[in-house]
Symmetry: C2
Subunit: 176 residues, 2 copies
């Protein structure tokens, strides 16, 4: 497989992952968080498949295509962790979908950042039943790890669903 | 269509264009020229679909993935026009496939460069029957413009075939 083949496969799998998450959150209440805007490609996809959702973008420095920049009310500019901490006051635990593609060039640094800092900053924002998609492994207690689309490398993305305590309880009550 | 959708469509069409050209040149003798290496993605694809061809890369400054850098004998480093002029001595008119993705950020500058400088520098290197794929419009007297893959924007690529004088002549002789 050439690098052109794998670039196509990677983008297709990323799209499939976003589409599946959008389908899975269905009509559950909540907002969407896009951590890392980059060129704005996945942000543009998220707003096209979730036109009625508020999508909040967290980005250190906006370098996206001018068409793919959110308005000021939906942009947390600056350090992503600080932005997430600020968002706790305004958004509270209302995030039903989080997509994070923040990896720096350094794999170990990205891994440590996600595990030690990003996970802790995301958790307070998550609604019950939230889906979290991240290019790095996260530490989300109580989350179920979800399967990735076919053709996606196991280390390219990590998909989680925060179990809704109500739903988790249901089968237990039924079984009793 | 989101920017993620169009990125996928663009790469798929690019792959289809390269695959079709590789098929069309078939077993005709000649080498391949890749003008502009970039991240090395299309170079990697070309060598995967044309494993028995010599592929010569012309690049001002190599910034590709280490896996996608040709050996010194197949690399014309420096100004692309100067490289093509140098190649006339060593390769002469032996290029059966040329792929050029050189566009700068400035559309007018890219257009003028391709029309006025690049076309003239490519022509002496082309074998009869050569296919030329370029992100810019070229001025190639005697070339037939080829249709693009479905889903590819008309201004994203321009595909040409240099008519083989022997083949052009044949039907005329037959008709006489």
């Amino acid at each position: 497989m050439s690098r052109l083949d794998s670039a196509i496969r990677r983008l297709q799998a990323q799209r499939q992952l976003l589409d599946q998450a959008a389908l899975d959150i269905g009509s559950m209440e909540g907002v969407v968080l896009e951590l890392g805007l980059g060129n704005g490609r996945t942000y543009d996809h998220l707003r096209s498949i979730l036109p009625n959702r508020d999508i909040y973008v967290f980005e250190r420095e906006v370098q996206a295509h001018p068409d793919c920049i959110p308005d000021d009310a939906h942009l947390f500019l600056g350090d992503v962790i600080e932005g997430l901490n600020r968002a706790q006051k305004t958004l509270s635990a209302k995030a039903i979908l989080v997509h994070a593609d923040l990896g720096t060039g350094d794999p170990q640094e990205s891994h440590d950042f996600a595990k030690n800092k990003l996970s802790a900053a995301i958790i307070p924002l998550l609604a019950a039943g939230a889906h979290v998609l991240c290019d790095q492994q996260l530490l989300l207690p109580g989350a179920t790890k979800l399967p990735l689309p076919k053709g996606m490398d196991a280390d390219r993305y990590h998909a989680y669903r925060m179990d809704d305590p109500k739903n988790v309880l249901k089968p237990v009550l039924k079984a009793a």
